[in-house]
Each structure stands twice: as C-alpha cells, then as structure tokens.
C-alpha cells in the first residue's frame, strides 16, 4: 500500500531522522523499518524529516526503509467505540491481546473498529434530500444507553443525498450513503476518519448553564463544574487524583465518558475496566461500560503514543459531542503528557525552558483545553465536552510549569491537599485553595432545585471555612479555650461540615454517590444548626452542651440517612435545640 518515501539516517530513542527522496508533509503518518513501526513527522529540515515513533525503536538501523501514504495520523470514528479499550493511537487492546498474547508486541497493524461486526442501521434521511456536513444520516443503537448517530463527515461539502441504505445490519465499512456535490459523488461509510490533531468544527461556542452533577458533595456544592467546563485536579502522589477521576467517570451525569489513562499505572486501568463491567449507572440502571470509551497508554508503553493519547481522547469526545451529547473527558494525567512532550522535545534537541519543558508547552495546553466547551454543532444541536484533567506536580509543588500554565486555561480548580490525604480525609479537595468560576453560570439550575438558597448557603459556608482557617492559627498558638463561644461555634460547625459533609467515602455503597437533593438537605441541616446555635449561645447555652446534644450527633451521621429521614430530621432541628435552653 504505502510507498517508500525515504530511509532512516539516525535513531535516537523514539525520534528517528529520515532522509526523504519524496516530499513529505508535517504530521504525515510514516511507517519505519521492516516491522513498519508507526510514527508521525514532527519536523522537517531540508530533505530530512524527524518522526516520533509510537513504538519501541530497538533494532531499527540506518538505511531501513520508511513508508508513507502522506496522510496524517487519523482515528476511525464509528460504532464500536463504546465499551472498548484502545491504546494511545487507537489500536484495540482486546483484539491485540487475542492476536499477540498478554504482552504488546511491536509492529501490529490492526484496524481500530471491528470490520466483522454488523450494526443495525436505521436511516433518518431519504434519497433526494439536501444534506450538509454534520447532518445525521441515520442511527445505530450501539449500546442500550447510547444511540450512535451516523454523521456526514465535516469535510464533505453540502450536496444532495442520492443514495441512502435501507434499515438493516451493516458493517462499519459498508457504504451507507452517497452524496452528490458539484458533479462528484462522494461515498459515505458508517465510520469516518479524522486527523487526530485537528479539532472537529462546530458552528459556535455557547456558554455553559447546567452543572455536571457528580454526586460528590464537595464538588457539586462548593466547587461545581458546568457541562462544557474545564477542570484541573492537581495533587501530589497519594492525594487521590485517580480516585476523584474514577468517581467522576462513574457517577457524573454525562451521556458519554471518554477515560484517558495517560502514562499512569496499568493496574488502575484494570481497576476501572473491572469496575465498569460491574457497576450500574444510578440514573439508567444500565452498565457504565455502555457509555464509556477507554484509552490506555500506561507508563511503560511507548512515550510518543502517550503524547498522542490525549488528542485521541479529545477527538473521540468531539465526535460524540457532534452527535449532540454531553461528553466528559477524564485525562489522568496531563503531567505525563507534558513530560512526554518534554522527552520528545529533548530528543529533537530543541531549546528547553523551565524544568526542561519546551517553549510551546503553554500553547499546547491551551489548544487542548480549548477543545472542551459547550457548542452548537454543525447540525444545529447542542453538545458539550467537559474536560477533567489531573496534574501531577513534582513534589506536590503547584508552582511548577504544568500546573501554573494549566491554571490559565481552566476555570475550575480542585486542589488536592496532602495533609487531608494523610488523615484519610477523601476526597482531599482543599476548600481553601480550590475555586470554581462556574458558580454564576449554573446558579439558576441550583436555585431552581433548592428554593434559591444554594448560593446564599454556599457563601455562608465558604466564609465560615475561611474564618475557621484563621481561628486555627490562633488555636495553634494559644489553645482553643480562650476563644469566645461564638468563635468556638465556628470551629464546631466547620468540624461537622468537614467530617459529615465534605468527607465522602468512595468505597461505601451508599456514600459513594450523593444525589443533588440529599446534598442540599445535608447542607441545609448544617446551616440550620449553625444559625440556631448562634442564637442559643447568645442566650447563654455552652459549647459543650451543643456538642453533646442529640442534634450534633445526628448531624455527624447524616450520610447514613435517606432523604425522607433527613427531611424529618431537618424539621426537628430547631425544636430539639430549643430543649438545650433551660
């Protein structure tokens, strides 16, 4: 198939230099050596092209042939993505395992989407209709959760539908339609190819207005993210980045989830996979696997493919967004991606900046995060991509380049705190360093659910937490006893809030997912307690009495209750506390 375009003249790790006898373009895909290892052209200098190779380059020699079709590295987008696990350049890992065994051999060429499998296609357009890029030609019920819409590829010009297949079972490479445009007839298949580094077009970006409900109290209530937002989750090792990512992949109310394991542990991917084949979505009762695409490029897999895996993930996310879905993309971890960038940059002898990272690191980060967002698609529907990307700062130091540059391109920041993690307060999201700029955008949604109280309560609590932070400084110096009762109450309320509300166990069957309604009730109960306690303290009730009261004890164990009991409890708070007055 591919022609010989040149030969190798130098091999240095994953970077290979090629002397070209034919012209070759930037980002063209090449296959190097007799094993035909897949690579991509990343730099051209006179007749020499530099390619980063996505597989281990051991045994490549100077003089080995290089092949290319002169097309960029592209993904196959079509039915068969969901529930599947791919490597960083979209090779299906299950299939590779069936072909090659438990270890990943080199030079495997296998199509991303299964060509054998038949999908039931139902056309929604008819012959003779006018058709534009992004239009929906038909539908395939890919899994019981997701209807896969077969789209006209964005790069096909407007035209007339001259043929569309009848309802029936077809494989992905079956020609299901033909479009006549400007005298040409363009065939459309059930799958389309799209270059991995190019963003898929849309009509326009619109602002986000609905929160992504994650069932995690600290996130939904204090630092919410909107559907179409970008979040960064930085944290040193052991602070629980991965668990946060897993929880969101499991419980967030996105319609499609793309989970990218970028340079992380192999066992973590196994964990997600094993879990998702068992776990059931609380809203639909279907397996979570049915709405999830996995990209796994673990830390011991080739570094160049790790660099590509992030783009593979977001391109797939865009494809589902184009169908009108709310997609969540989890990337764990973007630091590994940045390090891959650094390694490849070093091999190409580029000038390094801070910590050895290349000068284009911020530009690449910006490009990636801008592919998230809520948009009106080419076909007029709305879809969104929420990007939730973790960052692994060396030594847990948030001033390092990847964290600090990332902060410029995201609007929601969940800082993971080592001290919280050490005391097993999970999720270890710091209430002091984290922030969300989406509060105003999604305020309306929360207000409609909570009688307009959410923002007010949120401000009260954040204020208390700030005050508590300052009071703790004083306590460290002079002890808690000297504080007046009103200030001691702040400490107590925050103690309840931290233990009974913010702390949430991912491994407890009831606590792992907390519905928005219950979150608000718990929130409400704590505020009610605090307001009433303030009043009682003025009337002379002591802190010890409050702490030993039955209301206090019940507050601490709120998570175990169901919504009905909580409502009853909230209604009884004031009355119960009145009894403390003697």
């Amino acid at each position: 198939m591919a022609d010989i375009v040149g030969k190798i003249i130098r091999v240095n790790g994953p970077v290979v230099q090629i002397r070209c006898k034919e012209t070759i373009k930037m980002l063209d895909m090449v296959e190097v050596g007799d094993l035909r290892l897949v690579g991509e052209v990343v730099r051209i200098k006179q007749d020499i092209a530099y390619a980063q190779v996505y597989e281990d380059t051991t045994s490549l020699k100077a003089g080995d042939p290089v092949y290319s079709d002169r097309v960029p590295l592209s993904l196959e987008l079509g039915p068969g993505l969901l529930g599947n696990i791919f490597d960083g350049i979209q090779r299906p890992l299950e299939k590779i395992r069936a072909m090659e065994g438990d270890f990943i051999a080199r030079g495997i060429h296998v199509e991303a989407l299964d060509r054998e499998k038949k999908w039931h296609f139902i056309p929604v357009k008819k012959d003779g209709e006018k058709i534009a890029p992004g239009d929906i030609l038909g539908e395939v019920q890919e899994t019981s959760l997701v209807k896969h819409k077969i789209l006209v590829p964005p790069d096909v010009p407007e035209g007339m539908l001259v043929f569309v297949a009848q309802e029936g079972d077809y494989s992905v490479d079956y020609k299901i339609a033909e479009i006549e445009t400007g005298g040409n007839v363009i065939p459309i298949y059930m799958y389309q190819k799209w270059p991995v580094r190019k963003h898929r077009p849309y009509k326009q970006k619109i602002s986000a207005d609905t929160p992504l409900i994650t069932g995690q109290r600290v996130i939904d209530t204090l630092f919410p993210v909107a559907k179409g937002g970008c979040v960064s989750v930085p944290g040193g090792f052991g602070t629980g980045k991965t668990v946060v990512q897993h929880q969101l992949a499991k419980w967030s109310d996105a319609e499609v989830v793309v989970f990218v394991g970028c340079g992380e542990r192999g066992n973590e991917m196994t964990d997600v996979l094993a879990n998702f084949t068992k776990l059931v979505d609380p809203r639909t009762g279907k397996l979570l696997l049915e709405r999830t695409v996995f990209i796994a490029n673990t830390s011991n897999m080739p570094v160049a493919a790790r660099e590509a895996s992030i783009y593979t993930g977001i391109t797939i996310a865009e494809y589902f967004r184009d169908m009108g879905y709310d997609v969540a993309l989890m990337a764990d971890s973007t630091s590994r991606w940045a390090e891959a960038l650094r390694e490849l940059s070093g091999r190409m002898e580029e000038m390094p900046l801070e910590e050895g990272f290349p000068a284009y690191l911020p530009a690449r980060l910006a490009e990636f995060y801008e592919r998230g967002g809520r948009v009106i698609n080419l076909n007029g529907e709305t879809g969104s991509i929420t990007v939730i990307a973790s960052v692994s700062p060396p030594g847990g130091d948030f001033s390092e380049p990847v964290t600090s540059h990332t902060k410029r391109f995201i609007r929601c920041f969940w800082a993971l705190d080592r001290d919280l993690a050490y005391s097993r307060h999970y999720p270890a999201i710091s209430w002091i360093d984290s922030y969300s700029e989406y509060v105003d955008e999604i305020r309306q949604w929360w207000d409609s659910q909570t009688d307009g109280k959410w923002v007010e309560y949120r401000n009260i609590i954040l204020d208390l937490l700030q005050k508590e932070q300052r009071l703790q400084q004083i306590v460290k110096l002079i002890g808690p006893d000297v504080l007046p009762n009103t200030q001691k109450l702040i400490l107590e309320t925050c103690h309840i809030f931290k233990n009974a509300f913010l702390q949430q166990s991912a491994f407890d069957d009831t606590d792992t997912y907390c519905p928005a309604r219950k979150q608000f009730l718990m929130f409400n109960a704590i505020i009610k307690f605090h307001t009433k306690a303030e009043e009682l303290i003025k009337q002379g009730v002591g802190i010890e009495e409050l702490r030993e009261s039955s209301v206090y004890q019940s507050l601490m164990r709120m998570k175990e209750e169901n919504i009905d009991e909580l409502e009853k409890f909230i209604n009884s708070i004031e009355q119960e506390m009145e009894k403390l007055k003697k």
Binding site: I9, R10, V11, Q17, D56, T58, S59, L60, K61, A62, G63, L93, E94, I96, R97, E100, G101, D102, F103, I104, G236, F237, G238, G261, G263, R265, G266, N267, M269, T270, A274, T298, S299, N300, M301, V303, R336, E339, A340, R342, E343, G346, P352, E355, G356, P394, G395, D397, S423, R424, V475, K476, L477, I478, G479, N499, S505, F507, R557, E560
Partner: protein, 460 residues
C-alpha cells in the same frame, strides 16, 4: 541474523566516559548489544545508544578503563540484551549482567528472553487480589499489601528498612502455593547483600531465591541492567512457571544515580536535580513489570527499597516512584530514634490496592472502617500534639488529653512489635480495637454504630 552483523571492527573514533563512538559501520540497530573483546581476550558488553549513517554510539556496561582506540575488537550482535532463563536459576546468584557469581556454571537456558521485557497489555491484566499477610500490624491493618502490587519502602540512610524487608520475606510466605523471591541488589554494600543471604538461609528459602548483585564497587552502569535481568527472571518464574514471585529491588536510589550519570555523559538536557526528563518513563519500565495476568496462576509483587536523599520525600526519586507505585511505606527517623520497631510512619504511608481487597468476605467486615478511624484519630493526635507543644499539656481539654493518650498507646502497642513477632491479621485487628477504645465511642464517626456496639471495648 544476517551476515553483516557478525562483522568485526577495530577502529574506534572517540572514547568518553563509559561511551565510545565508532564509525564506518553498517547495519547496526538501535539498542542492540555490542561485544568488545580486549587484547587479553576479556569480553565486555555494550549497548548502542544511538545509530546513524555509518556510525554508532555505544555505552560500555563494564566501564571503558583500559580501552584505547585501537586495542579492541567490536562485534555487533544484532539483537538486544537477553537472559537465558530456566527453572534452574532458582537458588543461584548472578552478577548484574546475568553471569553466575557463585562459581557454578551458567544454567542451561530453556529460553532466551529480552531483558527489556514488553509492556503487559492493559486489557490482559488481572486486578491484584488476595492480601499478603505480612504479620506486621501497621502494614496488614493500615497499608495492606496485595499480591501483584508494587509497594516501595521510602527510607533514609541508617534506618532499618532491610530488617523490615527481611521480616516480611520471612513472615509472608504463601503456604501451599509455589513461592519464590527474586532479589536485585544495585550499588549496595557487600554487607547488605550478606545480610539478606544469611536471612534467606536462616528461613530456609535460599533454594527459592534468585539473586542479582551489582555491588557498590562494580561499574555503575551495570546497575541499570540489574533490575531488568531480575524482572526478566521474575516474569519467567511467574508467568511461565506459575509461581508467586516477590521481587526485592534495593536500592533504587543507586539505580537512579547511575541513570543520571549516563544521561549527563550523553549531554542530555536535565529536568530536575540533574536527573533526565525520562526518569519517570524509565522507572515505570521497571515498576510496571509487576502484577497479574488473566488466566495465569503466578504473580509478581514488587518491593523496591529506596533511600530518600536527606529524607526528602519531594526529591525526584521518591517523588516519581510514588507516582508509579501503588502506595508507599515510609520508614520514619523520629520513631526509629525513639526505639520503636518497625518505625513505619503510618500517616504518609499508603496502599492503593487496599480498598478493594479488605472488608466483608475478604478480611473482616470491620477492617475498612477501623483502619480509616485509626488514621483519622492518629492524625488528630498529631494536631493535638502540635498544640500541646506550644501551650503545654495542662491547658488541653479533657478530650484532647485522651487523644494524646491514644497516640502514645497506638505507637507503643500497635506500631511497635518485635523483629520475630508475627501477628495474624485477626490479632492485629483486635489490637486496633483495644487501642481505639481509648477514645470515647462518640468520637469514632468513621465506624458504624453497629460495629461500635459489637466490638468497642466498653469500660466496665
């Protein structure tokens, strides 16, 4: 293999440190082995680090001392570094490049395996399960070790990490299932190697141990190969011979320093503290060779030991290790100074695989919440202690005083145990309840009321 690869060359272009450049060569592959024969007939091994048109850069694993541009013959073998594995490697001691050190002949190879290994397909991995009972309370209850896990020791010089590792090896034997140990010593002193050998002898496991030693006085670059030989042996034993393999790698700090040395020699751009930017990927290529594979009986559990330079956990070596391994056990200088053995700092220690492998039907139903409560209460103890050191114990509230007492008892009864003391998991859990019952039941918010009723030691 084609004929070109057997060609010999005699003229080197340049020698620098442990690298040399050779020109006018053909058909040499990247990352392949090179055999260098000296006039005396001694053979050294090298690896091609870079190949270009007509030239190659070769890293000599045995060091370049005594080499000149003319006095040696260079042969390119056309294949990557391999280790001849067989069941007979059990009970043997090898150097860092897989040559026997025990005076016995090389075992007959059943198979030649590439020491660089291949990545396990993530779809083929099986999630680690079955805890390994180490008999140490702080590990079993609070940082449970699981078969197929990679759990490192972060230690410092002068701390008893070797003793703890030896105690685990002695106590964690899996009865009834084929079990063996692969030991890789990188840049360690002979005394340390001797300590482990004696320990293996005493416990009668020596016949089930394969050792790879690249001691402190051997050329630093052989250290880079030592863990790869060891893990190749481990993969063979686990996935071909169905054994449960425990791999001890000590000391990973020496490995990383050798890597930095090589990187500097090659003139690469350093990332942090002079370590190369690919330190993470390189460490991952070692640590990720642990785990289980679907439909295979064996498993590889890794316990790397590293000494943190200046006890600094943010140093690149522990930092990047922590990002790859599934938790860490931290050996603490302060506890050690107070005579507590094993001096494991439980708060910063972590086992990531613990959560899925403890509790009902796995260990005991109260295990997860008890562990969580012990962590929370001990963390609270630390805060109280900090306050007490400023305002004095007298000023503390009654509850805070109880927390102080809890901390003392926790460290002395629960953390502290003998070098030869093997506590079963049930013993450790019961001890945990004894200790936590110092605190009033209302404080135990991470334990359900039902479990408190059942197990709390109410004072009579």
């Amino acid at each position: 293999m084609n004929m070109y690869n057997l060609r010999q060359y005699t003229n080197l272009e340049e020698i620098a440190g442990q690298l040399f450049v050779i020109k006018n060569i053909h058909n040499v592959g990247y990352n392949e082995i090179v055999e260098i024969t000296e006039e005396t007939g001694d053979i050294r091994i090298g690896i091609t680090l870079e190949v270009g048109e007509n030239y190659a850069v070769v890293q000599v694993l045995g060091g370049t001392s005594g080499m000149s541009l003319k006095n040696c013959r260079v042969r390119f073998k056309g294949k990557p570094l391999e280790f001849g594995v067989s069941s007979q490697i059990l009970g043997r001691i090898f150097d860092g490049l897989g040559n026997p050190l025990d005076g016995l002949p090389k075992p007959v190879a059943e198979e030649e395996m590439n020491v660089n290994g291949m990545a396990i397909n993530p779809a083929a991995r099986d999630y680690p399960e079955n805890i390994i009972e180490t008999g140490i309370s702080t590990i079993d209850v609070m940082n449970t070790l699981v078969r197929g896990q990679k759990l490192p020791f972060f230690s410092g010089s002068g701390l008893p990490h070797d003793m703890i590792a030896a105690q685990i090896v002695r106590q964690a034997r899996v009865e009834g299932e084929p079990f063996c140990i692969v030991f890789a010593g990188m840049g360690i002193k002979y005394d340390t190697a001797r300590f482990f050998i004696r320990n293996f002898e005493d416990t009668g496991v020596l016949d089930n141990v394969v050792m790879f030693l690249s001691l402190a006085d051997s050329p630093s670059l052989t250290r880079l190969m030592t863990p790869r030989f060891a893990l190749t042996a481990a993969e063979f034993l686990a996935f071909r011979k169905d054994m449960h393999v425990l791999v001890l790698l000590t000391d990973m700090s020496n490995y990383c320093e050798a890597l930095r040395e090589l990187s500097t020699m090659r003139g690469e751009i350093p990332a942090r503290k002079g370590y190369p930017g690919y330190l993470y990927s390189d460490l991952a290529s070692i640590y990720e060779r642990a785990g289980r594979i679907k439909n295979k009986k064996g498993s590889i559990t890794q316990m790397p030991i590293l000494t943190m330079p200046n006890d600094d956990i943010t140093h690149p070596i522990p930092d990047l290790t922590g990002y790859i391994t599934e938790g860490q056990i931290i050996v603490d200088r302060e506890l050690h100074a107070r005579g507590i053995y094993p001096p494991i700092a439980v708060l910063p220690s972590l086992s990531r695989l613990m959560k899925d492998n403890i509790g009902t039907n796995k260990t005991r139903e109260d295990h997860p919440s008890l562990a969580s409560q012990l962590f929370a209460s001990y963390a609270r103890n630390r805060e109280v202690k900090a306050i007490a050191s400023i305002i004095g114990e007298e000023e503390l509230s009654a509850l805070d005083k109880l927390y102080l007492k809890f901390g003392e008892i926790f460290e002395e009864k629960f953390v502290n145990q003998g070098y030869n003391e093997r506590r079963t998991l049930v013993q450790s859990l019961e001890l945990g309840w004894d200790v936590i019952s110092v605190l009033p039941p209302e404080e135990l918010v991470r334990i359900s009321q039902q479990q408190i009723k059942q197990r709390y030691r109410y004072k009579k």
